[in-house]
Symmetry: C2
Subunit: 355 residues, 2 copies
């Protein structure tokens, strides 16, 4: 046998400029609490891959294990009970692993008791590490709840512990009480959420107004006196129904916000709140969202063109139910095939000040 | 609001040479059935990240959800029952998602009934797509079983359905009945496994002989007449105990074997068995293992130096148990920080023919 260390020690060739383009050296660690599906990309399946890829080591506590996401209208699997969630938490605690997390991302939690358990864990993690909590108040979309009704008041009781929330239009209305039908009411909703929950950062994702050909994404970071700094970004609508876009948005936003907050020297501060003199369009949150929306657009464009190619190559299933499943399968996010788009989107959407 | 599509359509800048270095365009899809831990990298936590990163879209069916791996000697969480595993399988089946998988990677399954359920799924997936099954017969290490005893005969009944097995030294002895104490007996073990189970490919990972300063990794791909084509690679031993190295090895081997089998035009053949005229050192399996061991070495080197740095910066815990947990925490594989080493190790270890 030859000694391979003599003949092949090319250890230097593996470092190239690529390594410097994201933050692999000062790794942040995220505890992600959300759903798990065996096939496809939603919830933690998306979150862990995207955050790990972007250099944030991510541990996932799965609130369910389902065969596939609910967009198929049929699935099998099981939920993790509140008792099981708390048991895993105790396991992390007894080995000193909770202290390792400096960020939290919470998403889909189907039941009220389970959400209380998740809230307990999040507060404990924050207590130890002063962690940053991105809370995605996953409750429903387009007027429909997809969690049990008891979940809504529990979210309302938890939001003031979080640092960033990323509700969609429907969830914004549920937690703010403001009906969002125009830029003016969108702006009011942001003010109301800051005031009601003292939440440092908000992004309202994917808002559509009647008759508009684009979607709006709006955000705000609070000042020391509790005032809003509001911005909005317009993005083109991509035709089709794609599950898990909210989870992708949340994961990317956490990674990019951390990057821009690090650049602004904010990571050791509570809530990563920029100084009052930071102008709205210079907010780390605004810069983060601009990049995130670039990645989102490119991933969705690739997903849509892949879907169209797949459906063209297949005979259309008969029966409405079979056809729906066929289209849903073809519409799974193309994340693995979009690593460049996630890492270096190139494309940026520009924020403007929202009065 | 400005229209960002007018001002910032840099969509072309996101494709660079990096994209061509692995196989993102012709994505293979893997069903990975193994353990899940919330903190750290073993089982599916490793497998899904590594395979997705290397361009193979991976769905994970988790056989357990534990707070951490068993190397800590304490953990909390729960197992997925055989009934739950089969229920998820039915969910995949009813939405036509099983057909989507063209590879299988099975690892840690703690109980006999659960392993039977996994075997059923693997055979079904193979039946539909002619998929390639990498079976890691996870049973124990260094003379100790860490699954229930009933698992051993179930593995023995399943191996002949698989395409590649990656037992360690102890597991090799369990399934072949050959005690591995020298290169000669290592070679006999490979012959015996091919003959007993008609298994196309074998890699015996991390073999150590008394008094040797290096580890051996040996493999073989069968010929059409059932003969072995055996090779061995020597690798330096890295001091320390690192959990999940077997899982990392399995995931990398699947990805690299597929790459080299694709280059040899074998992906549409059953078992990816190279023609009889392929010389041992030209086997896709031999080439794959050379690259895999390069990545393994670089990841372990980085993990070890990170561990040493962490332990130096911390006061040593008193109590044996606390100290063990502290060292184990510091020894978690540094996968997220080793993306370049996983993608482009540069370092290669050279195989030689094993007589």
């Amino acid at each position: 046998m030859t000694d391979p260390t003599d003949t092949h020690t090319h250890t230097d060739t593996h470092t190239d400029s690529h390594t410097n383009s994201h933050t692999h050296t000062d790794t942040g660690k995220v505890l992600a609490i959300a759903s798990h599906v065996v096939s496809g990309f939603v919830g933690n399946t998306t979150t862990t891959f995207v955050l790990n890829l972007l250099g944030l080591e991510t541990g996932s506590l799965n609130t369910v294990q389902f065969s596939n996401h609910s967009g198929y209208r049929q699935l099998r699997g099981f939920r993790t009970s509140a008792a099981q969630i708390l048991e895993i938490f105790e396991g992390l605690e007894q080995s000193g692993l909770l202290e390792g997390f400096d960020m939290l991302l919470t998403g889909y939690v189907p039941g009220e008791e389970e959400l209380r358990a998740v809230g307990k864990i999040a507060r404990e993690v924050k207590k130890r590490g002063g962690g940053f909590w991105l809370l995605d108040p996953v409750m429903g979309d387009q007027g429909k709840l997809y969690v049990s009704e008891g979940v809504v008041p529990v979210y309302k009781s938890l939001i003031h512990h979080a640092d960033l929330i990323v509700p969609n239009q429907f969830e914004t209305e549920l937690i703010s009480g403001v009906k969002v039908t125009s830029l003016a009411t969108l702006s009011t909703a942001l003010d109301t959420l800051h005031r009601m929950y003292l939440i440092p950062h908000i992004v309202i994702t994917s808002v559509t107004f009647d008759g508009a050909s684009k979607m709006a994404c709006a955000g705000s970071s609070i000042t020391s006196s509790g005032a809003s700094r509001k911005f909005v970004v317009d993005v083109p609508i991509i035709d089709g129904f794609f599950s898990g876009t909210g989870d992708l948005f949340a994961a990317l936003t956490l990674a990019r916000l951390r990057e821009h907050s690090a650049a602004a020297g904010l990571l050791s501060t509570a809530g990563w709140i920029p100084p009052d003199e930071t102008a709205t369009l210079d907010l780390p949150l605004a810069k983060a969202v601009e990049v995130v929306l670039g990645s989102m657009h490119l991933v969705l464009k690739k997903t849509k063109s892949t879907r169209d190619r797949i459906l063209l190559s297949q005979a259309a299933e008969q029966g409405e139910k079979e056809r729906h499943v066929q289209v849903t399968r073809a519409s799974e996010l193309r994340l693995v095939q979009s690593q460049e788009e996630l890492l270096r989107p190139g494309l940026r959407y520009e924020a403007t000040v929202l009065p």
